[in-house]
C-alpha cells in the first residue's frame, strides 16, 4: 500500500485535517501509526479503504494506491479483498446475531461459494480461539472476544493488509495483551501486513517493525524504527500528548538510561535502581464514609461487603463485566440494591449535592446548550462558575455547546459539573478511558488536587500506573465479588494475574532486582 501527498479538507473547516501525508506499507510489514486524539487518525482510515473521497463532504488531494492500483477508483466493496479493518468499538462493527453468521457475512459479500465458506469460517474462528463459540450470540461475548471475532471476520476474507484502528482501546489490560499475542503468530503464518493506529504504544512494542508519527496539524513527522523515533522526538511526543512506552517514559524522566532507550520493562530490568513508591501526603481516616453490607444486584453482584474510607482515593479495579460500575452506582445511590444495605451518610435529600458521579460517557450527563450553563446548572453563582472553568481550562469555550468539545474537554467538563458544589465524594467511571496521554495527565492532576483538598475519590480504572501514583485504597472485583481490598502496596504482593491485573512498571522493575535471572 502506498499513500502519496494525501491532503484532506472537510467542508466546514478551514484547516486541513491531513497535510501532505505520504507513507507506504510494504508486504509482511507491521507499521504503527502514532497520533494524538484529533490528529486525523480515523480520517486516514477512511481514506485507506476508499470510503473517502466517495463519502466525503470536502476535498481530498493525493492518492492512495494498493499494489499500484488507486483505491479510490476501485468498485465499492472490491477493496475489502485487499484491506480489512478491525475497528475500535466492539459494539458497533457487527450486523448479524450469531458468531458464525457474522464471519460468513464478509464471505457472502465476496460471493464465496457456500461449500468453501464452511472451511474458511472454521479456520478463521480457530485462529482466534472462538471455535467453540461459533453458534453463540454475539451479545454474549466479552469485549475482548468481540474484538477477536472482528479479527476473525477479516481473516476469513483473507486480505493481505489488515488495518487495526485502536482495536484494544475498549479492552482491559489482560484482554489487550491476549489480543496482541494473538496477532503475532497469525502475522507470521499468513504473511500479513498490519497497519496499526494507536495512541497507546505499550502493548505493541514487540510486533512493530516501523513507526509513523502523526502530529496535531495532520502531518507525518517521523517514519522509521521505533527506538530512534522515540529518542529523537520524545519532546514533541510529550507536547502532543502521545503516550510513550512506560519504560521509555520512565527512563527519560529519571534520566537514568538515555541511549539506547529502553522500550520494555525487560530492557529496563536490573539497570536502574527501582524508584520508591510515591509519597501520598494525606492518609485516609479509618472511619468508612460509605459502607455497604451483603449487597446483591440482579445476577451481577452476590452479597458483597464494601466500604469507602473517608478522605481516601479508592480505585476500583477488575476485568470488564466484573461488577465495578454496579458497585459504584449502588454506593452512590443511583440504583437500588436487590438485597442488602447501603449506608447513606448524607440523607436522601442532600445526596446528590454531596455526591458527584462522572459517567463513562460524559455526553450522557450534559443537560444544557452551553458549557457555561452546564457548570451553572446546579445553582452555582457567576464567580464559582468562572473559577471552575478556569480550573479545568475551559474558559475559552464557555459559549460552546458541550457536544462540540473534544473528548478530553468533555470529560473535564463533566468532572467540573460534579465538583462545582464542592461535593464530598466524587465517583469516576473510567475517567481516562479513550483519552490521550495529555488529557489523562491534565485530568488526573485536577482530581488529585481535589483529593488533597479533602474530597473522597472513588475511581474505576484499568490503569495500574494511575493506581500506583494516586490511589490510597484499592477494591478489586472479580465475577461479582470483592476479591481484594487494601492498599496498592498490598495488592502488588497478591497474585494479580488471577484478578486480570498487571503490576505497574515501578513494581515490575523492583521484581527484576529481587529475582536475579
Amino acid at each position: 500500500m502506498n499513500v502519496r501527498d494525501l491532503s484532506l479538507y472537510y467542508e466546514d473547516k478551514a484547516e486541513p485535517v491531513l497535510r501532505d501525508v505520504s507513507f507506504s506499507v510494504n508486504e509482511k510489514e507491521t507499521v504503527l501509526l502514532l497520533g494524538a486524539s484529533g490528529s486525523g487518525k480515523s480520517t486516514l482510515t477512511h481514506c485507506l479503504t476508499g470510503l473517502y473521497p466517495r463519502e466525503l463532504d470536502g476535498t481530498m488531494e493525493g492518492e492512495v494506491t494498493f499494489h499500484h492500483k488507486p483505491v479510490a477508483k476501485a468498485m465499492p466493496g472490491a477493496i475489502s479483498r485487499s484491506v480489512g479493518i478491525v475497528f475500535q468499538d466492539p459494539e458497533t462493527q457487527f450486523c448479524m446475531l450469531s458468531v458464525e453468521d457474522e464471519v460468513a457475512f464478509g464471505l457472502e459479500n465476496l460471493e464465496v461459494e457456500p461449500d468453501v465458506m464452511e472451511e474458511k469460517i472454521q479456520k478463521a474462528l480457530k485462529d482466534v480461539g472462538l471455535l467453540e463459540k461459533r453458534k453463540e450470540k454475539i451479545t454474549s461475548l466479552s469485549g475482548g472476544e468481540k474484538q477477536k471475532l472482528a479479527l476473525a471476520c477479516i481473516l476469513a476474507m483473507d486480505p493481505p493488509l489488515i488495518v487495526l484502528d485502536e482495536p484494544t482501546a475498549n479492552l482491559d489490560p489482560l484482554a489487550t495483551e491476549n489480543f496482541v499475542a494473538l496477532l503475532e503468530p497469525l502475522k507470521e503464518e499468513r504473511g500479513l501486513s498490519l497497519f496499526i493506529i494507536e495512541h497507546d504504544l505499550d502493548p505493541w512494542v514487540s510486533i512493530t517493525d516501523r513507526i509513523l508519527m502523526l502530529g496535531r496539524e495532520g502531518r507525518i513527522f517521523y517514519d522509521g524504527p521505533l527506538r530512534e523515533g522515540l529518542e529523537t522526538y520524545a519532546d514533541t511526543l510529550q507536547q502532543d500528548g502521545i503516550a510513550m512506552p512506560r519504560a521509555s517514559r520512565w527512563a527519560l524522566q529519571s534520566g537514568v538510561v538515555v541511549s539506547p532507550l529502553p522500550l520494555t520493562v525487560e530492557e529496563l530490568k536490573g539497570r536502574p535502581p527501582a524508584p520508591e513508591p510515591r509519597e501520598r501526603g494525606r492518609r485516609e481516616k479509618e472511619a468508612p464514609l460509605i459502607h455497604a453490607e451483603d449487597l446483591s444486584w440482579k445476577n451481577v453482584l452476590q452479597q458483597v461487603d464494601v466500604s469507602i474510607p473517608e478522605g481516601s482515593f479508592t480505585a476500583v479495579v477488575g476485568p470488564n463485566g466484573s461488577g465495578k460500575t454496579t458497585v459504584c452506582r449502588l454506593l452512590a445511590g443511583i440504583i437500588k440494591p436487590s438485597s442488602g444495605k447501603v449506608g447513606d451518610p448524607f440523607g436522601k435529600k442532600e445526596r446528590f449535592s454531596r455526591i458527584g458521579y462522572v459517567f463513562q460517557n460524559p455526553e450522557h450527563q450534559f443537560l444544557t446548550d452551553s458549557v457555561w450553563e452546564e457548570v451553572a446548572y446546579g445553582g452555582a453563582d457567576k464567580r464559582q462558575v468562572k473559577e471552575m472553568l478556569e480550573w479545568c481550562g475551559l474558559s475559552d469555550h464557555a459559549k460552546l455547546h458541550p457536544f462540540l468539545l473534544s473528548q478530553g474537554q468533555k470529560r473535564r467538563l463533566s468532572v467540573a459539573t460534579m465538583l462545582v458544589n464542592d461535593q464530598d465524594v466524587l465517583f469516576l467511571d473510567e475517567p481516562t478511558f479513550g483519552q490521550d496521554a495529555e488529557s489523562t495527565e491534565h485530568l488526573m492532576e485536577l482530581i488529585a488536587e481535589k483529593h488533597r483538598a479533602g474530597t473522597t475519590i472513588v475511581m474505576i480504572t484499568h490503569d495500574m500506573e494511575l493506581i500506583d501514583t494516586y490511589a490510597t485504597h484499592v477494591i478489586a472485583m472479580k465475577k461479582g465479588e470483592v476479591a481484594f481490598t487494601g492498599s496498592p502496596e498490598e495488592l502488588w504482593n497478591e497474585e494479580v494475574t488471577s484478578l486480570h491485573l498487571k503490576r505497574p512498571l515501578r513494581v515490575q522493575m523492583k521484581e527484576a532486582v529481587y529475582v536475579p535471572q
Binding site: 465499492p76 475489502s80 475497528f87 448479524m96 464471505l107 459479500n109 443511583i334 459517567f359 460517557n361
Partner: protein, 255 residues
C-alpha cells in the same frame, strides 16, 4: 419442530393469506374453530417457551374481551329486538351477541396466527428467506438486522442517560421536558453508532447489491407445501361446517 423448520417465507405468505380470507368472513364459528386449532397446532408442532406464549396472548385476549363487552353494551339497534338470549343473567339481543363473538374470535384468530409465526420463526432465517425466496433487496434486509441489534443497545443507553441525569439533580421537571433532554444524547449516540456500523459493513465488502452468496441457503422443499395446503383445507372445512349450520356471512362492515 415442524413449524420451526418450515421455510419462513412460505409460512409468512400462508399466514398472510389466511388472515385475508378470515378478514372477509363474519361469523363466530369459523374463527372460533380456527383459533382453537391454531393454538393446538402451535403447541404440537412448534418448539418455544410456552410461558412466554401465554404471556403474549394475554394482552390480545384482554383487548378482545374489551371489544366483546363494548359491542354488546353499545350495539346498534338490532333488526329483530324480540330475539334475545341470556348472557350472564343479562338479557341481550341475539344478533348483538353474534356480532360481538364474531369480533372477539376474529381478533383472537389474527392474534394466534401472528403468534404462531413470531414464536416459531428465527428472525435471521426469515430475513435470509425473504432475500432468497422473495427477492427482498439485501440493503433493506441487512439494514433491518443491524437495526434489530441496536434496540437493546438503545435501551441500555436510555437507562444510563436517565441515571446520569438523576445525579445532576434532575427528576422534578415535568415528563415532557425531561424526555426532550434525553433525546439529544440518545439521538447523537444512535447516529454515531449507525454510522460506525455502516462503515464497518462496507469495509467488509457489503454494497447492498443482489450479487452475493449465502452461507445458509434456505429453499422451499416439498414438505414446506404441507403447511399452506393443510391450513387451507382446515379453513375450508370450518367454512363448510359454518355454512352447513347456517352461521356463515360475509363481512359487511359490522362493528
Amino acid at each position: 419442530m415442524y413449524l420451526n423448520n418450515l421455510n419462513p417465507s412460505v409460512k409468512a405468505l400462508t399466514i398472510l393469506g389466511l388472515v385475508l380470507v378470515l378478514a372477509l368472513l363474519f361469523d363466530p364459528v369459523t374463527p372460533f374453530l380456527f383459533t382453537v386449532s391454531t393454538i393446538l397446532l402451535t403447541f404440537v408442532f412448534g418448539t418455544f417457551r410456552k410461558k412466554h406464549y401465554l404471556l403474549y396472548l394475554l394482552p390480545f385476549t384482554i383487548f378482545a374481551f374489551g371489544m366483546l363487552w363494548t359491542t354488546i353494551a353499545f350495539a346498534d339497534a338490532p333488526a329483530d329486538p324480540g330475539d334475545t338470549m341470556t348472557l350472564l343473567l343479562w338479557e341481550v339481543p341475539r344478533e348483538d351477541v353474534m356480532v360481538a363473538f364474531s369480533l372477539f374470535f376474529r381478533i383472537l384468530a389474527f392474534a394466534t396466527l401472528s403468534l404462531l409465526f413470531v414464536f416459531t420463526t428465527n428472525m435471521v432465517e426469515f430475513l435470509l428467506s425473504l432475500m432468497q425466496q422473495l427477492r427482498l433487496p439485501p440493503k433493506l434486509a441487512y439494514g433491518v438486522l443491524a437495526g434489530y441489534r441496536f434496540l437493546p443497545m438503545l435501551k441500555t443507553e436510555f437507562g444510563q442517560i436517565q441515571a446520569a441525569h438523576r445525579v445532576r439533580g434532575l427528576g422534578q421537571e415535568s415528563g415532557w421536558k425531561r424526555y426532550r433532554r434525553f433525546a439529544v444524547p440518545l439521538l447523537a449516540g444512535a447516529i454515531r453508532k449507525a454510522e460506525r456500523t455502516a462503515v464497518a459493513m462496507e469495509s467488509k465488502g457489503f454494497t447492498g447489491s443482489r450479487e452475493r452468496t449465502f452461507y445458509r441457503n434456505l429453499t422451499v422443499r416439498k414438505k414446506d407445501w404441507l403447511f399452506p395446503v393443510g391450513m387451507g383445507l382446515l379453513l375450508g372445512f370450518f367454512l363448510i361446517l359454518s355454512i352447513h349450520f347456517g352461521y356463515f356471512s360475509w363481512y359487511q362492515g359490522q362493528l
